[in-house]
Structure formats: structure tokens, C-alpha cells
Subunit: 787 residues, 2 copies
């Protein structure tokens, strides 16, 4: 393999995973790399692998990328990475599959349907349990930490030795974060961040290596507990969504490849199509558990992910969401020694508001866009310079220490004393330098778990916070949150965004309260906090429908529906004007070939002929084993789907299309040596069944691990039974939007382009479509590279 430069990936170690156990990733090229590309004018420009490895070099003119391990990684956002493969969301309806389907009775389909519901129930149950576990662990650890620090502060407040408290606090936080960062950076880099962009890509059809593994789940859960307990400006909601997705991918397969256990159940679900549906349900269950929002969960899955609306699927997703909320509520109620009290809506409960809000924020979207822009530059910086695991751990620890220090300094210098009786149910009121009977409100904001702080900002009565406190808090928290997102720790961005928004929302509320005279209507700054929180979060993640429902479900009151909707819609429109959503930015920075829901509007100029890759490597229906092995082993082409053709009797070329076969299928065929000429051994060998393909799924062995002797190379292989005989095709003249629509609506991986006699002329894959995007100067074409 020609991986000379260090690859840029979700985290800098993800590529290493290819070599260790991912199966195909050893050959993780693209479907079409190495095909020569026929551009519109007819000129042929060759984009081969070897020539593109250092394509970045031309742009950054750095010379060190060839000298061993580079200090800086060159990165160009106008590239599309070739290292991401696609998932097969279109069933390969080959003879084996059809035979199985036809054998199955109506009763069989009913059983299958019921087991789908069972799996969804299980997904909801386990996701709820995990959410419950994370919540309890975080509560225990933070409680312990606060107790230690508070004791220490109170001990030293009089004596003036507060620097010792600061150091204690910073060290405690850094220790937690170090653990969290080490497991993420060294053991499972893909578990870093919120996981939502990765799940979005997965559901879009991009194979992100290791994203739904058991190990990822374990690291994610442990990591998020550490980073939240370590006082970082992060939330635990994004990781919970990722956890739900991993649970779904695991449970639905009825086995664990990591643990080498196969329960021999749910074998039917061992393919990408079914797995994707369950992963949608898992993500929804995660949202549902995190926010107590089952409907919001379903909408999240649909808005962020799914492309094809299917009623039955929607109902199952909904079911998983409900079960998840229910499980979480039940176990938390048991934990809180109040079993059966199920009114606890979710991990975030904003409490109920009781009156109407009529104001809109003016900042809608602006602050969100600023956040995204800053994070964008920070991420590019990280990709270039902070790509070694140890550097990543150190950065995380640095952030933890800085967070602690900044908080401490702000608490120390602020004189935001508030009378103690105003506060109800404050867990950690800290007196510090305040008079007796008072407490430091800045300390309260920093010391609480973020969820609790959001709730306080929403609900504490007017006068609980000093405006200056809120102002300083907003600015500090804004930059801290921006710095934190993208660290090599498991962390979500929901809660920090809500907190920042709630703080400035409440600040505006207080200021309006000072300006206006009609005090009765504008009385409660908590409502401004809610609106601000929605605006900030909406400006960052750019969800509308699902976020509205999530916030409604989390606040427990529909009265705020209309203002929330208006705010979120405004935030989206304003934000989109400046910058993309945070998740989209991160997806783009990883050069993921993401297929959006519609083709760029001005792309009618392009047709399949210009977009496709050609010429295409095809196989004959009965092909020589040696040819197949050679083609699969060719790392410079590395195709994943091959049209199968039949030649005419007179050998006219190119021959007519008669099917499509995948690399993974060929590998299974080679492994089981399904060769025509081996007549003797064929008698003893059972017919290859769908089960053999399912057993190998999803970690198909690389071609190098399959030994084919010289004799066997001369054998023939009959692909008829295994190929998909009815691949979708389009004529060459089809416009790009039309190709796009077909591709996206059906979740295709390979789309064969044929001429008017049904002869193969090209192949359209995900990367061919994702390349085109709307830039500042109209339609732009991204370059493909093996970054």
C-alpha cells in the first residue's frame, strides 16, 4: 500500500485500524479509483492512485510529507477522500436471495416482522439502560469531585491559600480527562467527539470503519463519563445517540464478532439494508433517552439521516424510542428510590414553563455561525498539527486544566453574591467570600452539572443572577466550548450550546427588564433563557423540525412551540447564510463522500456520461479464477463492484450487461472455492448458501488471505447464481439530477451506465456524485484523493 503521508481521518489513528482487523479496509480504496475519467469534452484525465497520494503537496508546498512521519499534515478541504467505502443499501437480489425469499411462507414473513419489533424493543431497552448507567456514574463521580473541592475551598477561604484549591481542582479534572482522552486517542479514536456526524454518514451509506463496534461503545461510554466528570464543557447527549446506534447494530446481528459469540438468531438481518434500519432506530432511541423525547428521536433519525420514508420502519423506530424512554425512567426511578414514578421525562428535563413568550432573539444564528466558523479553523489546525495520540491527550488535559483555572478565576474575582433563600434545590451552593446566608452565583453556574445549570438558568426566579456574571460566563463558556469540541474525548455539543444560549438569553431578558416599564409581561428572564438556548443550539447544529420537538418534549410544554419554531427557523436561515452546520462542517473536513438529499441546482449541464467512471472492469458470466484473483488483488484499481457481461457469439465487445457482483461476494466464492472445473471435489461440497455470505458479513477477509493455487487459477467460476441479475441502469444521456435522485432514493452503491444496446459504458458510484457541490462560483468539482 502506498500510504506515505499520514492520513487525515475522523481522528488521526482511524486509518491504522484498516491494517489491523477491518477486513476490506486493507484494500480500502474506492469503487472507481483508477478508472480513467472521461470529462465532458472527451479528453481523458487519468487520476491514478499513485499520482494522487501527495496531491495535497501541490497546494501547501510542504516538503516534509515524504520524510517519514510528518510533523504537519497537509489538508485541503477541496478534496474528497477515497478511503471511505460505501454500504450496500440496495439488496443484491441474486438467485440465492430470491430462492430464500420464495421458500419463505407468509408465516415466515410474519415471524420476521415480529422479530424486527422484538429487536427494536431490545434496542430501546439496552439504550435506556446504558443512558441510565452513564447518568448514574456521572452523578456519582461529579458529586465526589465537588465534595472534595468544596471542602478544600471552604477550608482555605479564610486562610487565603486558594491556589492550593485551584491546583487540586485542576489536577482532579485533568486526571479524569486524561483517562478519557487516553482510551479514546490510543484505543478507539472513532469514539471521540459526539458521534453524530459519524452516525449521519453511516445512515447516508458511507462505511466509517469501526463506528458500530462493541469496543467503540465501551470506549464511548467510559470516555463520556470521564470527560463530563472531568468538568469539560461538554454534554453526554451526542455520545448517547452514538451508543444507541452501536447497540442497534450489535443486537440486530444476533452475534458479536468481537466476542466471537454467535447466537444463531436474527441471521436474516445480516446485511447492510436491515442493519441500517435498526441503526436508525438505535439513534432515535438514543435521542429519546437523552432528552426524554421519543417523537423527537424519530424525527432526528429522519431529518438527519434517512432518505426513504417507510411507514413500517417509522413505527418500529418510534417503538424503540418509546421503550428507551420507558426503560430509562424506570431504572432511574428505582435508583432514586421512587420506583414506579415514571414522570421523569429524560436525562434532560427543563422543567415546565407556565406562561407564553412573545419575543424573538436578534442574535438568532449569528452566534451559532461564529461558533461553527471558529471550530472550523480550530479543526483544520488540529488536523494539521495535533494528530499524534499523545499530543491529543495532552491537549485534552490542557483544556481541562484551563477550564478549571478559568472557572476558578472567574469565581474568585466575581462578587456575584446572591441570597441563599432565593435558590431552591441548589445542590452545591458555595459561600466563598459572600456573607453568611448568601452564595456565589458564578460558582453555582460553574460547579453544577451542565444540565442542572441550564435548568437553573431557565427556572431560577428573577434576580438569581447578576448580569455581569452572565455576560462573563457567556463569553468564557463560548470559547471553552468551541475549543473543547473536537478534542479526542467523547463529548457532545448539545448541552454546552444550550448553556451558552441560556446564559445570553437570560442576560437579554434581564436587560430588557431594566429597559421596559411593563414589568408584568416581561417578568421572567427564564423564558428568554429558553429562547436563547434554542437559538444557540439551532445556530450550531441547524436542525429545525426535530429540534423543535425535542425541546418541546424536554420542556414539557407545547405553549412554547411556536416561538421555538420561529427561533429555530430564523437561526437556520441566518446561520446557513454564513456557514454550514457544525456536523456538516466536520463531515466535509473529513472529506467524506456524503450524498445530500438533492443534486446541486445548476447541475443539469452534466450527464451520466460526464459523471461516470470509465472504462469499467467487467467479468464474464463464467470467468477464469486467475483473472478474478488478479483483478481483486490489484491495489491500484481496487474496485468493489463489477458488472457481469455476456459476450455475443461472435465475440463483439463490449458485451451486454447481465448482472453486477460485489467484491465481498467474490471473496466468499473464492474462499469456498466454488469452481466449475473441480468436478471431483464439487461432488462432496455442499451448494453455497446465503448463510455463507451472512457468516462472512460484515468483515469479509481481504483477498490476500485467500490462497489460490496455480491449478485453481485455471479453473472457471460461474457467477450466474451469485450476481445481482437486475442492477439498476441509466442511459448515458441521463442528467446528473436524475442520476442523483435514483441513486439517493434507492440507496445505491453502484449504478451502471449503459448505451442504447445495454452495453456497459461506465459506473457511477457515491464519489462520482458527491464530487459536485455548489461553491461560490457556481458548480465546483472536488478532487478525489487517497487522503
Amino acid at each position: 500500500m502506498a500510504n506515505i503521508t499520514k492520513k487525515v481521518s475522523w481522528s488521526s489513528r482511524a486509518d491504522d485500524s484498516n491494517a489491523t482487523g477491518e477486513g476490506t479496509p486493507l484494500l480500502n480504496g474506492s469503487e472507481q479509483l483508477g478508472y480513467s475519467r472521461q470529462v465532458s469534452g472527451g479528453s481523458i484525465s487519468q487520476i491514478g492512485r499513485v499520482s494522487t497520494v501527495n496531491m495535497d503537496e501541490e497546494i501547501t508546498s510542504e516538503e516534509d510529507s515524504l520524510k517519514g512521519r510528518p510533523k504537519e499534515i497537509t489538508h485541503n478541504e477541496k478534496l474528497l477522500s477515497l478511503k471511505y467505502e460505501s454500504l450496500d443499501y440496495d439488496n443484491s437480489e441474486n438467485q440465492l436471495f430470491l430462492e430464500e425469499e420464495r421458500r419463505m411462507s407468509y408465516l415466515g414473513f410474519r415471524c420476521l416482522e415480529i422479530s424486527r419489533w422484538v429487536v427494536c424493543g431490545l434496542i430501546g431497552f439496552l439504550t435506556g439502560l446504558i443512558a441510565c448507567f452513564i447518568d448514574i456514574m456521572v452523578e456519582q463521580l461529579t458529586g465526589l469531585k465537588y465534595y472534595v473541592v468544596k471542602e478544600n475551598i471552604e477550608k482555605f477561604t479564610a486562610g487565603g491559600g486558594l491556589s492550593i484549591s485551584l491546583i487540586l481542582w485542576a489536577v482532579l479534572n485533568s486526571a479524569f480527562v486524561m483517562v478519557g482522552a487516553i482510551i479514546v486517542a490510543f484505543f478507539e479514536p472513532i469514539a471521540g467527539g459526539s458521534g453524530i456526524p459519524q452516525i449521519k454518514c453511516y445512515l447516508n451509506g458511507v462505511k466509517i470503519p469501526r463506528v458500530v463496534r462493541l469496543k467503540t461503545l465501551l470506549v464511548k461510554v467510559a470516555g463520556v463519563i470521564c470527560s463530563v466528570a472531568g468538568g469539560l464543557v461538554v454534554g453526554k447527549e451526542g455520545p448517547m445517540i452514538h451508543s444507541g446506534a452501536v447497540v442497534a447494530a450489535g443486537v440486530s446481528q444476533g452475534r458479536s464478532t468481537s466476542l466471537k459469540r454467535d447466537f444463531k438468531i436474527f441471521e436474516y438481518f445480516r446485511r447492510d439494508t436491515e442493519k441500517r434500519d435498526f441503526v436508525s432506530a438505535g439513534a432515535a432511541a438514543g435521542v429519546s433517552a437523552a432528552f426524554g423525547a421519543p417523537v423527537g428521536g424519530v424525527l432526528f433519525s429522519l431529518e438527519e439521516a434517512a432518505s426513504y420514508w417507510n411507514q413500517m420502519l417509522t413505527w418500529r423506530i418510534f417503538f424503540a424510542s418509546m421503550i428507551s424512554t420507558f426503560t430509562l425512567n424506570f431504572f432511574l426511578s428505582v435508583y432514586n428510590k421512587n420506583p414506579g414514578e415514571l414522570s421523569n421525562p429524560g436525562l434532560i428535563n427543563f422543567g415546565s414553563f407556565d406562561r407564553n413568550v412573545r419575543s424573538l432573539c436578534s442574535f438568532c444564528g449569528l452566534l451559532g455561525a461564529l461558533f461553527n466558523a471558529l471550530n472550523y479553523w480550530l479543526t483544520i489546525f488540529r488536523i494539521r498539527y495535533i494528530h499524534r495520540p499523545c499530543l491529543q491527550v495532552m491537549e485534552a488535559m490542557l483544556v481541562a486544566a484551563v477550564t478549571a483555572t478559568v472557572s476558578f478565576i472567574m469565581i474568585y474575582f466575581s462578587n456575584a453574591c446572591q441570597p441563599l433563600d432565593v435558590v431552591q434545590g441548589e445542590d452545591y451552593p458555595l459561600q466563598l467570600y459572600c456573607d453568611d446566608g448568601e452564595y456565589n452565583s458564578m460558582a453555582t453556574t460553574f460547579f453544577n452539572r451542565p444540565e442542572k445549570s441550564v435548568q437553573n438558568l431557565f427556572h431560577n426566579p428573577p434576580g438569581s443572577y447578576h448580569p455581569l456574571t452572565l455576560g462573563v460566563f457567556t463569553i468564557t463558556y463560548f470559547f471553552l466550548a468551541c475549543w473543547t469540541y473536537g478534542l479526542a474525548v467523547s463529548a457532545g455539543v448539545f448541552i454546552p450550546s444550550l448553556l451558552i444560549g441560556a446564559a445570553w438569553g437570560r442576560l437579554i431578558g434581564i436587560m430588557l427588564l431594566g429597559v421596559t416599564t411593563t414589568k408584568v409581561i416581561w417578568a421572567d428572564p427564564g423564558k428568554y433563557a429558553l429562547i436563547g438556548a434554542a437559538a444557540q443550539l439551532g445556530g450550531i447544529v441547524r436542525m429545525t423540525l426535530s429540534l423543535t420537538v425535542i425541546l418541546i418534549e424536554a420542556t414539557g410544554n407545547v405553549t412554547y412551540g411556536l416561538p421555538l419554531m420561529l427561533v429555530l427557523m430564523t437561526a437556520k436561515i441566518v446561520g446557513d447564510y454564513f456557514e454550514e452546520g457544525l456536523y456538516d462542517i466536520h463531515i466535509k473536513l473529513q472529506s467524506v463522500p456524503f450524498v445530500h438529499s438533492e443534486a446541486p441546482p445548476t447541475s443539469h449541464w452534466l450527464t451520466a456520461r460526464e459523471v461516470m467512471s470509465s472504462p469499467v472492469t467487467s467479468f464474464n458470466r463464467v470467468e477464469r479464477v486467475g483473472t478474478i484473483v488478479d483483478l481483486l488483488s490489484n491495489t491500484s484499481t481496487n474496485h468493489n463492484g463489477f458488472p457481469v457481461v455476456v459476450s455475443n457469439a461472435n465475440g463483439e465487445e463490449p458485451a451486454k450487461l447481465c448482472g453486477l457482483i460485489l467484491r465481498s461476494q467474490l471473496i466468499v466464492l473464492l474462499k469456498h472455492k466454488v469452481f466449475v472445473e473441480l468436478a471431483r471435489s464439487k461432488l462432496t461440497r455442499r451448494k453455497l448458501q446465503l448463510k455463507d455470505f451472512r457468516d462472512a458479513y460484515p468483515r469479509f477477509p481481504p483477498i490476500q488471505s485467500i490462497h489460490v493455487s496455480q491449478d485453481e487459477r485455471e479453473c472457471m467460476m460461474d457467477l450466474t447464481e451469485f450476481m445481482n441479475p437486475t442492477p439498476y441502469t441509466v442511459p448515458q444521456e441521463t442528467s446528473l439530477p436524475r442520476v442523483y435522485k435514483l441513486f439517493r432514493a434507492l440507496g445505491l452503491r453502484h449504478l451502471v451506465v449503459v448505451d442504447d444496446s445495454n452495453r456497459v459504458v461506465g459506473l457511477v458510484t457515491r464519489k462520482d456524485l458527491a464530487r459536485y457541490h455548489l461553491g461560490k462560483h457556481g458548480l465546483e468539482e472536488l478532487q478525489l484523493a487517497q487522503t
Copy 2:
């Protein structure tokens, strides 16, 4: 035309509309009728139009169907009607279209996008206005009626001449209903019923004649006011959804064909694809106005209708919903002399609940299924015997009179006196035979507007209703509602269902209250009313996700989310076991070729070869005008889509596919006489543009209205520029589920089946797919007939 029997349609007059102004419906056959059908074994069974006209006859063995106007219409539910055409939800990307798209700059697309938002805003605004108008009119009329009747009753209560009051009441009601029934039965039968099944079909791609016309809207609005004011057991929510859809279809076209006004705007939107998207938004806006549920509206559109989830579309639909709610609130607040008070959530506001519910109903779904079964038999009876407009009007009046009488008798014989002080804000408390300071609770239930009654059942304190009152009320209302749905009046089923459910829910609540000892928890029977209402409505219409959100938004409290979800899910599962949803039943009874979201599970046996219609009538790329005219005029075939082929030089047949052209396009071509040989006149004639097609849309003239002279018949017509050069195709071996998926995901109308050399062998249309459904004995095939 061979329309000998009276056709069964949405209402018995719908077919007449074909002859008057619908354009194509004069030729409203099917896409494939008259093609001979090649069934699996290879045997050919001819289903021609003439031979199938009286196909019903064989089954019912009635003899009178040929003798003029039959007294009874034979009807068989195992038929699929050929009279419904499809809509073109797949753009015909011909050269004209592509040229226009390519001419358009990025700025042009931005403008288009903005105008889409503007249209959605307008749709929301107008829908809100209409909802407001209906609401105010109903309130005024019912107020007037109640006032008159109440005066009369109070006048006669002492004297005992209550029969006069009864007659007055019955006559008043019948008069209202008569007006409503006459305009529906005689002027616009399609405006009858709730309109939801029709909109569902429209969005599914079935062309229901006249369903989105201005006249339909007017009749619908007037009709629903009359029927609600006439005291029928109906709601005004379904009609409001239909109204929203009509508004959307009208506004988005920028002209009114009925009023002959063309504003020369939004011309780009004059095609089925764009129109459908706006109609989705209109339906959502209707739900939003009816229930104050913007999110519920979006989900309704998606759950009931759309097949392809598109983010941009979703956001626009959401926008329309919000505007609609906002408009309604604003104008109602002005009407209520409280301008600016926007907390009025919608036409139905169930008020806020304040505590948790933990009980599930045991009847979930059962009563709903019973309702549907009864209505099913009633509808069949109506189709057979009550198909003349005057009979329909008489039936409606009868129902109105019976409703009044039954209510009166129940009020008369009940002694459900309740103290007056319990009730807050009762609009029409009726003393009747009760003591002073008391009122008759049965009368209250019957006398209020249904929305108000539902609210009372939810919120009146324990003890407001006598259990016997509720029991009798439930039974009476159940049968009345069942009888009413399907009458020739504009009427919805939402509110009656909620009312029935609320009544029995409250009854159960009261009974449990009597049984149980822990009075504190079970204290409020209103919560049982809510659960009962959800169960009844869910059992009838079988929506889950959207109904949950609608009910949450209407109750204004998320706390009930989980119990509501559980109840709705149970109601759906239990109900589906016995009977389909009410809307699906009505769609099926009209023999509409509805394409569900998935193929029947056991249909892998079938391939495109068995499903398709063949042989197909094709045109050459340059075709003789006479041939085209003859084929279009042939009423026995009546195709709507024609593959265009090119023959080889040696004239080998069948030739290769090179495009697809629609009847409507050919008609425009013939009208503008775009003939190749007319060289002289061609010079003076401008090139045909997309505008000419848009101007003719959607009422293309019938072929009979176009005169083609004998000379012109010999001319040639070049179809190259106008045909869709890249129709979607499938090979013959493609399995039915795969064909289904492609067809449904892309909203196709014609899918060309080709052989391995790209030669046309068949055509798959909507009816070919809708024919297969899962019956009691496995896969069944419906017969096609010109019912």
C-alpha cells in the same frame, strides 16, 4: 365511450365530470388497458374495455345493469378501477426542460427557491384564513340555532308541548343539512366526506378528478359549515385538511383555470411534481390550523402521504404549517376582541392537563375496528343503492332528523341533572326538567359544538356526568357517527371519534373510581377521557406518530405523551388485526390503484415479465401524424404513455428504446401542429416552448377536439425534442418487490421493461403493481375493470 353502467366513484357523480371539463378524462382509461396481458405461464388473457364493462355482472348475477339507469349498482371489492389515471411525479426531462434548466443561473434557482417559500407562506396564510372563516361561521350559525331551540324548549317545558320543540329542532337541522347535501350531491360530489382519503390518493400519485378545484373548495367550505351547523355527528377537521390542499394546488399555479385568470407567476410550478409538494404543504397547513399542531401537520403529511423524505421540502411544509397556525390565531384573536393574544393554539384546544396518567384502556382498537367494519358494510350498501343525488340528499336529511330526534328523546328521558355551579364557562346550560340551579348534563353534551363537548369531557370535574348518561351517549353517538360518515356532506370523522372515545373513557374512569379505594391517584376521570379519545380515534384512522404529536400539541402537555403513544400503538396493532383503517377502507372500496409503501412480502415469485402489460404500443422517433392521431383516438386502448423507439437500419423489430412520451405532450404537439413537412408554415411559427405545455397543464384538451386535416395526417412529427430521452427501465427478470421499490420511491407513472438489448417488451404502470395484494390465502390478484 362505452360507459353503460353507472360508475361507482367517490360519489356517484364524479364520473360525469369527465365529460364536462376535465380534459383527458374524456379518455380517462388506463395506461395499459387493452394491452393484452401476458401471464406467467405464457398464456395470453385479453382484458379489453368492452369485455370488462360488466365484469361485475358475473359476480352479482344482476340483470338490470344494461337497462338504462340501474336501480342497483353492482360492486365488487376485488376489482381495481381503470378509471383513475396517474399523476406524473417523475419529471419528463426532455430537451426543452433541460434547456430551460441549463439556461437558468444559480441566481435563478435561488429566486425559485425563495418563491417556493413565498408560496408556502401564502398557503399557510390562506389556509389559516379559511379555517378561521369556517370556525366563525359555524359558531354564529350554531349559536343562532341553539338560541332559537332553547327559547322554544324553555317556553314549552312547563306546558308539555315539547313535540313542537322537537319538530322545530329537527326541521332546523334538516334544513341546514339539506343545503349542505344539495350542493355536495348536485354540484360537486367530490367535496363529500372528509377529503382525507382523496388527498391521500392524490399524494400517492392517483389523479382523482376535480379534487383540487376551486369549486370543490367552495362547496367543501359551505358544506362543512352546513353539516356542522345542522347538528350532524361530524367534525370540521378533515374538510379543513382538504381545503388546505386545494388552496395549495391553486396558489402554487399562479392562476385559476376556473376563473380564467392567469397571473403569469409561478409558471415553473405548473407540473405534477411541484404541485404535489405544495399540496403536501397545504394538507399540513390544514392539520395545523385544525388542531393547532404544526409539527403534527408535517408528520401527517409524511405519514399519510409522502414517500420520499426530502429535507428542504420538510422545512417548507413546516413553514406553511407554522404560518397557518399563526394566521388562524391572529384572526381569531381579533375576532374575539383580544388582538395579539396568540396563545390560542388551534380550532381544537383540549386545554392543559396537569398530572400524569398511568392507565391503559382495554378496548384499544376494538371499538375502532367495529366502527370501521360497520361503516364498511354501510358504504357498500350506499354504493349499491343510494347513488342518485336526490336519494343522497334525502338520506342526509333523514340522518339529520334522526340525530335531532334521538338527541331529543335522550335529553327528554334522561334525568341527568347536575348542579349548575360545577360547570365553568358552559355556553348553553339547559335546565329542562331539572331543579333550579341545576342543568341537564345530557342536553349539554348534545347541545354543544362537539369540540366543546370533548373539552368538557376532558376537563369537567368529577361528578359532572352521570355514568348512565355517558353510557347511553356513547352507544348512540357511536352508531350515529358511523351512519353519518360517508353521507353526501362535507364532514370529518376526527371529532366524533374523539367524542365517543372521551365518553367511554370517562365512563371507565368513573367506574374505576367507584371500584378502587386509592381515590387520590385515580381522581380525575378526565384523563381516562383523553386516553379513551386517543384509543377510539387511533382505532379508526390508524395513525400513530402524527396522531401522537397532534394530540400532544392539542392538549398542550407533553406529560401525556407516553401513555398516548402506548394507547395509539396498541389501538393500531389490535385494530389492524381485525380491519383496515377507515381511510384505507374507503380507498379500497373506490377501487383506487393505491401503491402502498412496500410490495406484499410474498411477492418475490413474480417478476416484471409477469407483472407488465404487453405488447406495448410504441412510436418511432419520427412518426406519421396520422398514426399518432389514430392511436390517441383509439378509445379501446387509451394509453397515456408511449415508449419511443428507433429501428435499426435493417428494420429489425422490436426496435430499441430511445425515449418515452406522454399523451398530454402529444396533444400539445398536435394542437400546435409541430409537423416536419409543413416547411412553409414552420418558418413563421415560433419554436414550441415549455411554456406551451405549461399553459395547457393540467387540463389538456381531448384528442377529439383537435382537428387534423387529411394533408396533415401525412406529415411527420419529430418527437426527439419532446420525449423524455432517459426513462427508467428494468430488465424482465426484476422481481416485483424491486420494481415496486423503484416505482414507489421515484413516484413513477410508466416504467419500461426492456430485454437485454434494450428493446421494449412491456410497460409497468400503477395498476399493474396495485393489483397484487395480500389476501387471506396469500398473494391475490385484483381484477382490472372499468367500474
